[in-house]
């Protein structure tokens, strides 16, 4: 049960965004551009940044949801485990390692990102837009994680819930469906 009364029974962030579309629709639109918009980073790379930050912010709902999305995009548990615990030896490009390092710094605090972190990313071919998007994705998930946990939202235990959610995030994306969020699969878990 969330700390506050919502206008729906949906879990995690879905319940919060549906409860307050006045702010929720802008958060959704921002996420859609960042994680699904045109980019030289793949969707999996962008989801990996989101997952790492959520993991470090100890937000179990967001970590489960975006880890499932990484897997739906072709990743596996070994990749996730390396990214969480030993990113420099993860099976990703050197550029991606440098971007994950920047994301981890952003998770702590903005000013933790140092000149040498950015230089490392540029040395491995990261563009300014890629660095920008990495910082903003990491910052956005510092919002999401705090919103979801700060209001004590309901978190399903069933891994099947996150697999279904991931399917939607991969095939439909982050925008609010015109008819609202009423998938049967979600409400039955409540």
């Amino acid at each position: 049960m969330a700390y506050i009364k919502l206008n729906n029974q949906l879990p995690g962030i879905t319940g919060l965004l549906e409860n307050r579309p006045d702010t929720g629709d802008h958060i959704r639109a921002l996420t859609q551009v960042l994680l699904r918009g045109e980019s030289s980073l793949t969707e999996m790379e962008r989801e990996l940044i989101a997952t790492l930050v959520s993991y470090r912010n100890e937000c179990r709902f967001c970590t489960s949801a975006h880890a499932a999305t990484v897997k739906a995009l072709g990743g596996d548990d070994e990749l996730l485990d390396k990214v969480f615990h030993d990113a420099d030896n993860a099976p990703v490009s050197d550029k991606m390692k440098a971007l994950l390092n920047i994301a981890a710094k952003v998770q702590k605090l903005g000013k933790e990102v140092k000149e040498e972190d950015v230089e490392r990313a540029k040395k491995h071919g990261a563009t300014d837009v890629e660095i920008h998007d990495t910082v903003l994705i990491a910052a956005l998930f510092c919002l999401y994680n705090r919103y979801v946990d700060g209001l004590g939202t309901y978190r399903p235990e069933d891994p099947g819930y996150y697999e279904k959610l991931a399917q939607r995030l991969v095939t439909v994306g982050y925008m609010r469906p015109r008819e609202g969020v009423i998938p049967v699969a979600e409400t039955t878990y409540r």
């Binding site: 506050i4 921002l30 960042l34 605090l109 990102v113 660095i131 920008h132 998007d133 700060g150």
Partner: protein
């Protein structure tokens, strides 16, 4: 110098939004809805929460600009802004606002730091669900903005008068993305 090639001489978030208008538009729309939209909290109170969280995140640009906006909106009661930034527990504000700032401070640390007790305390001071929601989302949103602004090392003016003018613009014009002003 910012970490990436943003327009020179343009401060803080504005330079980042000009660099990447596709995301900037939504960031400004979110700020406008959250800080100027319908809420049981006054605009001055919402700006105060934003400044308080930004101070705790050590983001000088956001702290200074939102404190300036809050002072402007508080008018004759403007002193409460600096009282809160110095020591929120001793500030001359209502117990309800104190309890909401307390929740915002917890959110600034990490979402899971907010406990049922914090929520119960705010309710016992008269806070509604909408007020608790807005306090949490403002704190979460500024945990994003602060990291964005500092994570890319955007230009942070040192001159207090620059923030005064910025605060007035924010107070009276709201959050309009640079593209829309052209």
């Amino acid at each position: 110098m910012a970490h990436i090639q943003v327009p020179t001489g343009v401060p803080g978030i504005r330079s980042l939004v000009m660099f990447r208008p596709e995301t900037g538009e939504h960031l400004y729309n979110l700020a406008q809805a959250l800080l100027r939209g319908v809420s049981p909290l006054t605009e001055a109170e919402r700006e105060l929460i934003a400044a308080y969280v930004s101070g705790r995140n050590e983001c000088m640009f956001c702290m200074s600009s939102h404190a300036a906006a809050s002072r402007c909106l508080y008018g004759e009661e403007r002193n409460v802004v600096d009282e809160v930034l110095n020591d929120a527990d001793r500030a001359n504000i209502t117990p309800k606002l104190k309890s909401l700032l307390h929740i915002a401070g917890r959110v600034q640390i990490l979402g899971k730091e907010v406990t049922q007790n914090d929520i119960d305390d705010a309710r016992s001071e008269g806070a509604t669900d909408e007020e608790i929601h807005d306090a949490v989302l403002i704190a979460a949103t500024f945990s994003m903005f602060n990291r964005y602004v500092d994570g890319l090392a955007s230009f942070t003016p040192n001159d207090a008068s620059a923030y005064e003018a910025m605060g007035e613009r924010m107070a009276y014009n709201g959050y309009v993305s640079p593209q829309k002003q052209l």
